[in-house]
Symmetry: C2
Subunit: 249 residues, 2 copies
C-alpha cells in the first residue's frame, strides 16, 4: 500500500483511540563497540529516520502508553524509561505532514514528551512495524549522515545531556555491561556517555569509592597485555545508590 | 459571583483558546528563615490549595505558556523554570470537578507538565487572580496541615526530589541569597534543600572546591560569636558551572 494512503486510512481510527495534541518519543541508547547508539525507525512515508514514538490512548495512563508504543513499534519490552524533557514549540512538526490537509490526525500540533533509557542492544529482538521499512540501532557518530524527521535530532541531543547529568547522580552500567567486566570496560562506557576521555587514575579511584563494585578473584586472560582484574556490580549497594543517589553532599 | 458559575462561564471560552488535555503546574520554591516554602493558590472553588497552574494556548509555545500562567495567576515574572516531570495518570483529577457535567473544559483528562524554580520570595510581589481567594508562600513543614487538591502534593514532592538532584550537578544560591553571605548561610540553604544536616567541615571544603565563591575582605559583624567571613558568588565561574555542570567525573 502507498504510505500516504496508509496514514489516511489510520487517521479516523486514531481520532477515536488517542488523545489529541500529546505524543511520546522514547530515546533508547545502546552501548556496543565502546560507542553509544540510538534506536530509530525509518518510516515508509518520506523515508526519514524517526524515534519510535506515538500517541497515548484516551483511557491509558501515560507511562503505560509509552511502554506500549515502544513494544508495538520496535519490539522493546522491560526497559526502564525516564522522562527527561517536553518538546512544545508550536511549529515543531508543521512541515512534516504538509502533503496532507488539516484533517489528518497526525498533522495536528503535538507536544511531545521525551523519555530515555540505556539498554544492552544484544538483549533486544527488534521488530519492524507496519509504518516502517526499518528499525535499527544507529551509532551517535553516524547521526550526522542520516536524515532525521522534525525536531528528533534535538530530542536525541537533549536525551544525551540528560544521560550525562544522570551519570553524576546515579550509578550506570548494570544490565548493560557483561556480568564480569574490567575497570577499563566500565571507563569506556562512562567516556562514551560523557563524550570525552577520562583520566584513568581518577576514574578508578572515584568509581571504587562509590562502593558499588566487587573485585573478583579472576583476571581477564588472553590479551597481549597484563591480565586485568575482573569486577561485578554489588547488587545491594548498586540498588541503594540508585535509590539514594550518589550523594555528593 | 458563585465560584461554580465562574468556572461554567469560562468553560466555552477556554475551549476556544486552549489546547485540550494538556496543563502545566509550576512549583516555585522560596527560601526564608532557613526553610523552604512553596507558592500556592487557594481557589474560590472548593477552598483547597493548588499549584499556580493552567492551560496552554493553541497558538503558543509551551514554555511561553508556562511563563504566562505564572504571571497571570501569581504575578511572578523573570523566573527560570525547569521541567522536571509529567503527571499522566488517567484519573489524576477525576473527582476534583465532580460537581460539574462532562462538558466543562476543566473536567476533561489533563496530562500535566511539572516545572520547578527556586526563587527569593522577597523579590516577588504576589497577586491574587480572579479564581483564587489567596496566593501565598507555604512552608514545606506546614504542607501536612493544609488540604491540597488532586495530585498536587505528589507533584510538590517530586519537584523537591528534582531540586535535590539538581544540587548535585549545578550550583545553587545565586539570586536567592543576599549578595554577601556567610558559608553558614549557604550551608543552611543546602541543608534545607537536602532535608538533612551536613557536616560543616566537609561542606566548606566541597563548596570551596567548586571555585564559584569569592572570599571578601569583610566579616559579618554584630553576632555574639566570632565574626564570620563573608563571601559572594564569582559570577563568571558560577555561570560556567551552571552551563557545564559540576562534573563529578
Amino acid at each position: 500500500m502507498d504510505s500516504k494512503q496508509q496514514l489516511l486510512n489510520k487517521s479516523n481510527e486514531a481520532k477515536e483511540i488517542f488523545l489529541p495534541h500529546i505524543s511520546a518519543d522514547p530515546v533508547v541508547f545502546g552501548f556496543e563497540q565502546n560507542e553509544l547508539k540510538v534506536l530509530l525507525l525509518k518510516m515508509n512515508y518520506r523515508k526519514q529516520w524517526l524515534l519510535p514514538g506515538g500517541y497515548i490512548k484516551k483511557d491509558e495512563d501515560l507511562e503505560d502508553g509509552v511502554a506500549r508504543i515502544l513494544k508495538d513499534r520496535a519490539g522493546v519490552t522491560d526497559v526502564y524509561l525516564e522522562e527527561f524533557g517536553v518538546f512544545g514549540r508550536k511549529n515543531r512538526s508543521e512541515f512534516y505532514f504538509e502533503d496532507f490537509d488539516d484533517t489528518l490526525f497526525h498533522k495536528q500540533r503535538f507536544i511531545s514528551i521525551g523519555y530515555f533509557a540505556l539498554y544492552n542492544p544484544s538483549k533486544i529482538n527488534l521488530i519492524v512495524d507496519e509504518f516502517s521499512e526499518n528499525c535499527d540501532w544507529i551509532y551517535l557518530s553516524r547521526l550526522s549522515e542520516i536524515e532525521l524527521a522534525m525536531d528528533h535530532r534535538e530530542i536525541i541531543e537533549k536525551a544525551l545531556l540528560a544521560l550525562r547529568e544522570k551519570i553524576s547522580i546515579k550509578p550506570i552500567g548494570y544490565n548493560l555491561l557483561p556480568e564480569k567486566f574490567t575497570l577499563s570496560e566500565l571507563q569506556k562506557l562512562y567516556e562514551a556517555i560523557l563524550g570525552k576521555e577520562l583520566n584513568r587514575g581518577n576514574f578508578y579511584r572515584k568509581i571504587k569509592n562509590l562502593g558499588i563494585l566487587n573485585k573478583l578473584e579472576e583476571q581477564r586472560r588472553g590479551g597481549a597485555h597484563k591480565s586485568p582484574d575482573l569486577y561485578s556490580f554489588d547488587e545491594e549497594n548498586y540498588a541503594k545508590a540508585l535509590e539514594n543517589g550518589l550523594n555528593n553532599w
